[in-house]
Symmetry: C2
Subunit: 213 residues, 2 copies
Amino acid sequence: MNSLWPRSRLLRNSRLLRRADAIVDAAANVFAERGYHGTSTQAIADVLGLRQASLYYYFPSKEAALELVCERGVDGFVETAEAILAGAGTPLEKLTALIAAHLAPNASKRDYVKVFINERRYLPDASRRRIGRKSRRIERCFEEVIRAGIADGSMREGADLRLTVLAVLGMMNSVINWRAADQDDASVARIAAELSQLVVAGLAKPVPARKRT
Amino acid sequence: MNSLWPRSRLLRNSRLLRRADAIVDAAANVFAERGYHGTSTQAIADVLGLRQASLYYYFPSKEAALELVCERGVDGFVETAEAILAGAGTPLEKLTALIAAHLAPNASKRDYVKVFINERRYLPDASRRRIGRKSRRIERCFEEVIRAGIADGSMREGADLRLTVLAVLGMMNSVINWRAADQDDASVARIAAELSQLVVAGLAKPVPARKRT
DNA sequence: ATGCATTTTTATAGACGTATAGAATCTATA
DNA sequence: TATAGATTCTATACGTCTATAAAAATGCAT
């Protein structure tokens, strides 16, 4: 009749996890604002109305906190991207979907994404590499979709694939640093639409096709 | 017959300036690698084989050093961009030239540019605003050239101008963070060409024009 | 060589930052 | 309400960091 853990332990865990979540959220907030090295554990505690030393009940070190934040910052990106790649649609449609999906967390997880983008380089080697592997999987999704587009004739050949992907990712990742924090989710969708348009069609006006009939 | 200052003073100044240059160069180097807040004045001194306290003969504070580095990082960008805008050429040609000019310092002033891009947000308010004004002048150059392109029919209408400019700048500014440091100047030119192509033409294959004759 | 100005060093004040230990307080439940 | 365990607090060790002051060393013109 007993479950694996006593009820109290489950309760404890759920409360602990909720609180831990709030702590990491505060860390993300301050890291995003002032950068990892510019943030003192005191500043994180201030956001929560906690004492500086109390944080160490929830994580063993400041570095560990950064790791948690970055983890959440990149979480879901890979899965979503790979799902889009595996799903239905033309390469051009998938590219547009990838861009929209990549930008969506700009609204829902702003601080986490910002920290992931700007501060992950300060992670200790081990976790930086682990997280770097995820980044590379995302890059590969974009690569694959463009490769497919070239193969089926919908995208132009001749571009340096890797370079193009890094450029497009760089463009998308810059958004977190210039989009106003107080804008709504719709603004992210609008940005995604504009960036897709830019990446797919470019700025030049297409040569008008001769009469179709 | 006397110049404004005695010869010794000029000599002093030129030597002082050369040395100051080396100091700022070392600061740029370490700031670029570890970030502003991740850098101790000790680390800068180590690069030079100097004692930590000796740095303060050349600048009054670490913040002042960051300011000098950022200053040099953005220096020339505005002038070059405005010159291109004022010069001859079609908007599309000018856009390509702007992109090439914006990327060129990636090779020649790598550390300075990297610090300007990644660390300027840690500048004290006054200098951050001053340097921010320069950034906005650069943005305006891109805006103007696209506006001109739309006006003369060479670029497509309907895009959000400001958003497009920020995206293109974000794309270009990301280069400093992913281009391998040990590559030659030619690689920057190649990247510039690719990015121009991407921004101008997009990834989609143009609909083949019906027979021209 | 001497003397003056420049540059660098030593020494250190004083603030701040991370992390630990153990005491105090809170919470849920019997 | 008494108790056990969870959470937070106080106090503090200990290292690191920026910046200053004064002494020492160096370079240079005469």
